[in-house]
Symmetry: C4
Subunit: 376 residues, 4 copies
Amino acid sequence: MSKNNSLAHFEPVNLYEFEALAKLKLPKMVYDYYCSGADDQYTLQDNIEAFKRLRLIPRVLIDISAQDISTTILGVPSSFPLIIAPTAMQRMAHHEGECATARAAAKNGVIMTLSSWSTTNIEDVAKAAPRAPRWFQLYVYKDRDVTAKLVRRAEKAGYLAIALTVDTPRLGRREADIHNKFSLPSHLTMANFTNDDGEKSHMEKGSGSGLAAYVASLIDRSLSWKDIAWLKSITRLPILVKGIVTRADAEIAVRNGVAGIIVSNHGARQLDTSLATIDCLEEVVAGAQGKVPVFVDSGIRRGTDIVKSLALGAQAVQIGRGVLWGLAVGGEEGVDRVLKLLRDEFELALGLCGCRTVKDIRRDMVVRTSELSFGL
Amino acid sequence: MSKNNSLAHFEPVNLYEFEALAKLKLPKMVYDYYCSGADDQYTLQDNIEAFKRLRLIPRVLIDISAQDISTTILGVPSSFPLIIAPTAMQRMAHHEGECATARAAAKNGVIMTLSSWSTTNIEDVAKAAPRAPRWFQLYVYKDRDVTAKLVRRAEKAGYLAIALTVDTPRLGRREADIHNKFSLPSHLTMANFTNDDGEKSHMEKGSGSGLAAYVASLIDRSLSWKDIAWLKSITRLPILVKGIVTRADAEIAVRNGVAGIIVSNHGARQLDTSLATIDCLEEVVAGAQGKVPVFVDSGIRRGTDIVKSLALGAQAVQIGRGVLWGLAVGGEEGVDRVLKLLRDEFELALGLCGCRTVKDIRRDMVVRTSELSFGL
Amino acid sequence: MSKNNSLAHFEPVNLYEFEALAKLKLPKMVYDYYCSGADDQYTLQDNIEAFKRLRLIPRVLIDISAQDISTTILGVPSSFPLIIAPTAMQRMAHHEGECATARAAAKNGVIMTLSSWSTTNIEDVAKAAPRAPRWFQLYVYKDRDVTAKLVRRAEKAGYLAIALTVDTPRLGRREADIHNKFSLPSHLTMANFTNDDGEKSHMEKGSGSGLAAYVASLIDRSLSWKDIAWLKSITRLPILVKGIVTRADAEIAVRNGVAGIIVSNHGARQLDTSLATIDCLEEVVAGAQGKVPVFVDSGIRRGTDIVKSLALGAQAVQIGRGVLWGLAVGGEEGVDRVLKLLRDEFELALGLCGCRTVKDIRRDMVVRTSELSFGL
Amino acid sequence: MSKNNSLAHFEPVNLYEFEALAKLKLPKMVYDYYCSGADDQYTLQDNIEAFKRLRLIPRVLIDISAQDISTTILGVPSSFPLIIAPTAMQRMAHHEGECATARAAAKNGVIMTLSSWSTTNIEDVAKAAPRAPRWFQLYVYKDRDVTAKLVRRAEKAGYLAIALTVDTPRLGRREADIHNKFSLPSHLTMANFTNDDGEKSHMEKGSGSGLAAYVASLIDRSLSWKDIAWLKSITRLPILVKGIVTRADAEIAVRNGVAGIIVSNHGARQLDTSLATIDCLEEVVAGAQGKVPVFVDSGIRRGTDIVKSLALGAQAVQIGRGVLWGLAVGGEEGVDRVLKLLRDEFELALGLCGCRTVKDIRRDMVVRTSELSFGL
Ligand SMILES: Cc1cc2nc3c(=O)[nH]c(=O)nc-3n(C[C@H](O)[C@H](O)[C@H](O)COP(=O)(O)O)c2cc1C
Ligand SMILES: Cc1cc2nc3c(=O)[nH]c(=O)nc-3n(C[C@H](O)[C@H](O)[C@H](O)COP(=O)(O)O)c2cc1C
Ligand SMILES: Cc1cc2nc3c(=O)[nH]c(=O)nc-3n(C[C@H](O)[C@H](O)[C@H](O)COP(=O)(O)O)c2cc1C
Ligand SMILES: Cc1cc2nc3c(=O)[nH]c(=O)nc-3n(C[C@H](O)[C@H](O)[C@H](O)COP(=O)(O)O)c2cc1C
């Protein structure tokens, strides 16, 4: 993204423009994999529209000359309330892949979550950005030894928490991947695995989605609440559960000793026509009863979305695709721009609402149209 | 649909793509007849949108490693809760017509309902797929002898139930059929009738819809509840009523001793601006008071739609057009693919909701936006 | 519309297709005048969408073999519950203009309302179709002698009622007419007036809408409730008020001794963003307290719309533009087709709802989505 | 706009057509600056749609032959309840800029508000139209001397009130301006400032929006309620606050002794996804408790919008972009046409609602769809 490369000709000013540029640069198979939601992509659309249905109520004539938007997440300082969500196979977007993302995270003082299905391994990402606060996202394999090894490597490499993904016992139906017969390009590997492990690091090219076949053959559909105890027995890292959307499950999670809950519908890639996460957030926050922090992702595209998420009880948001678009557009610098853009948008929105700090955000700054004395 | 025919070049991955392919293959008059709804096709659209308005609420961390999606319908095992709805004149879609459908039903272990207006007769369909569980859909003719003969032939040929269609005393206004002057192509016949019967097996080409003229001249507009008793007097087969959308009519149906109720608006082909069936289902289920099973059709296109239908009280769903598109695309193999596709989608959706079996489906897995503590 | 003219090539099957054909045939200025609503035409659209928001609830297994859709309107038999609304200047649509309309009304046994601004005079229309039941629509001129003369001529020529239009003290802003500098083509006249009357029979071509200028200079903005008494003093014909949309005004109307109320927003040509009339109907019916019949127009395009109007308390509906499109497409025969089309659609919709006669129509056959136990 | 220039060929009949013509005439950078809203421009759209969601309820048979639409605003007569909102840099639209606007205001007997960021200075505008009732809109600079000087100059030049803008501690994100690297064309200046003042009268061309940079460097983010007292201490002009959207802030404003409140979201240019102002108006009116007048702007495009605003409690409305489009299309004459157009539309709408004067406007003439006994 330096002056003399092609990006210089068009400076994207929002995540949608980053996506448009990324689409131009990426092979169709890769772009499709990144952008797709499940089935009719109804929830994909709703994830975004749900934020629009929430309206901000700005207060005025409040001195905002000294804004401070930093926060603390599980004891770790964050420059603003945003976490990079785990997204698989980032080297399809840019040859530096997960390393570029980690370095941009470090530079911006935000947490990066590494996917189990990264194309750079746990240790190399740690080495590339030792100062980036890092979480590790865990998929549980039928072979529990494989799973345990991943957890221990993450712990050893200085990752600060395990985000256990709980919404993917089977892979959602992403139709573009089926048409494209999506699989990891042959020069890349699922870098956390070696064939010696007994797990495949390559994905087979088959008749449909190679990833769906991979998940069906290797990921453990029997995963259940009792496995939280097992995980806690093999690591001292805090365990977050990623993919909870109900109050009932939030209550169970708290009883099972999780350290945090991530409200997510996996960017609408799993169960189509499920609710937008922002419409589930308050219920989950109620279920968490203030005992553990609640995070939210899926559909966040704007600084105003972050304000709304915090107003409804989230401690921070996660960003999935947005980071991938930055990565595709300009590697580390692209991710850096995306993070700065969201940071700027968030700070501005916060200020225009009349808030100096994230603590100033109150529930009544956001209104559902149904909460008004009249409907819209 | 074998490797070396044209379909090999494009593998449809959902019912919409099956329809798109079918549209390419079928003569306009046939495609229009199959796809049309009545008048402005408002209910046609609403049948589908109504499912989108219902949102799924997935629960997580439930062991779904051993899913079993089979069920039992009126005492007959079904591989999953789906029935092939009766659709007329299937040999317009594919030369093997109803036989191809019946064989695909047998292969997939689901019930096929044969239309009174089939282009293959009752006995030939039975012979083509003796092991397919089969229902016979009945239209009541002004000439009650003709009607009685149909019922007795179905009983004799091993059909398991009579689905009496009650929403068609007159034919709905399908404007494309009027413009096309739709009539059955001359090489095909309404195969259950011979001209010797006193009923026409050919349809006359007229100034408007040939089918509308056929119905106006032959079908009995005086059909009423008392005819259920008459039907029961001439057959020992269970009688289902197809086309009920109100609680009141469900209650009357139960009092009249029907064996089951099919909530249907005839795929939106009869009365435009009537409610989507999924929006009527719970009322009808309430009217049935658990005394007879309730089924639903009209607008089901996705596995998630089946989950929602069962959550709202249906025992199984029926599929009309979807099967026709499969038939048009690839005959028996096409129907087979459609059934497998819906089966896969259903199983996946069920699993992602956290259910192992159809019995695990609960009302609270689905939410109307109006049932939320807030509106959407 | 005979076999050897151009219409034979395309048979419109609904009012929308009649409009599309009319648009092809009419000069732009004329089509625009006929189709336009006021301002942004928001109510124009809502008049139609409001009917779609109302859903029909069909009942089944009712003997409808002997349907009778006739009714009685102010003591006069009508073949079905439809009245031709007054629309101005019909000879712009077809050279036989109002005479063609009147003859088609006579043939179909429905009432025709003649506009004050007809291009054929009161007496000639009466002569053209002596057996057509006819109402006369009255605009009140500043010059009350002119007004009184119109009323007396209508009475003398056998018109059965006066429909006093009350929503037009000033003409609504129809922007296409302003752009087109709309005025009556010079070979036509406002035929109920002669220049000797002191009123102009020609419309001047000006800088904006000629009709708006005409209304501003001649029509009486001071018209008020007390003028009902005046009207009753000069004629023994029953007086209906056309253009009421509130319960309060309906109550006042009844107190002032009107013979009937026509709920109308003038086909959305007067005050944009006013409510769709079907959304006002029940309120007005409540205001009328069963003392006078209530009619409704604006936005009726389908037989189902007529069923809904009657279910909500109207005794009959009026059709404005639909008749003009028929007239433009085929003169008397075109109007005849439009009337038969609506008649057929109405009879079919009624039957599919499970009704034999208009008396069988009940309020609970139609539902607002907000009346359901759940929202849509 | 005289006969022999290009406008003669197309006479715009509503504000949307004025905008379309303006877009043709203006450089892209200027048009974009004028039309843009913040971020996704969701509130921009909602500002307009919110008026459509409000429906008018016309009453009939009321003598409206003598309409009088004049009113009084803070003691000053106004020919109708409309004020010209402050909009910056009007000489980009037309070389006579703010002077043309002021002269048109004088001619039409309405108040013009001059922006702090005008391209003609306070005194020259006063001189150009001495008889125009004028308000001065104030932005508070970090350098309070600069600010105080502006206030005193306005007072001295005969401006009648200060409208303090309170919704712009930072500039909203208008993405077109960022892409265009918007800045004031070099032949124009922020005319109220001279470089000698210590404030820049030129805007620097930078990497993003020049105006955003200008605001960030010069405008005071610490502005708070206590500054109302400061302002009152330096001028005897009444102080209005512009940009309030909550009841709570309205109450504080009253307690702080403001002379009026302008409900505004800055034409949707500041905080995207905030509520449409017409949806906030009643709350603010409640907060004002009848102690100070309430005005409203943002999204007003039609005479009916003015009626609705008054029905919901506003004393008058403000028009921002509409005036700019008039100015761009035809300078003083263009603004004059826009004002006359809105005046005509308002008078007509008022009359069609059955009102003679603005005092006749009642709350029950407007209905939110949610206030009906049924939903829409
Ligand atoms: C291309 C892609 C890959 C993803 N890979 C993973 C993954 O490996 N593990 C995981 O838990 N979530 C994964 N997710 C889900 C994200 O963590 C996150 O929940 C989602 O992207 C948030 O929605 P957003 O993209 O709208 O911001 C992935 C999402 C995308 C778009
Ligand atoms: C082309 C076509 C023909 C049909 N023929 C019959 C029929 O002969 N008898 C009947 O009871 N229903 C008939 N139906 C209605 C179907 O049984 C079923 O109710 C409807 O198709 C379900 O809606 P879907 O198409 O959205 O799945 C027909 C529907 C279609 C589309
Ligand atoms: C072209 C046209 C001319 C009309 N002229 C009159 C008229 O002269 N007098 C009157 O009371 N209503 C007049 N109306 C209103 C109609 O009587 C009627 O209220 C309206 O057309 C009903 O709406 P619809 O067109 O949607 O059926 C006119 C309407 C149209 C479209
Ligand atoms: C181009 C433009 C410039 C504006 N400049 C100012 C300004 O200098 N000061 C201010 O208080 N408001 C300013 N506004 C906001 C207007 O005063 C007003 O609130 C808004 O335009 C009303 O919305 P409308 O454009 O939909 O009528 C500006 C608006 C526009 C469109």
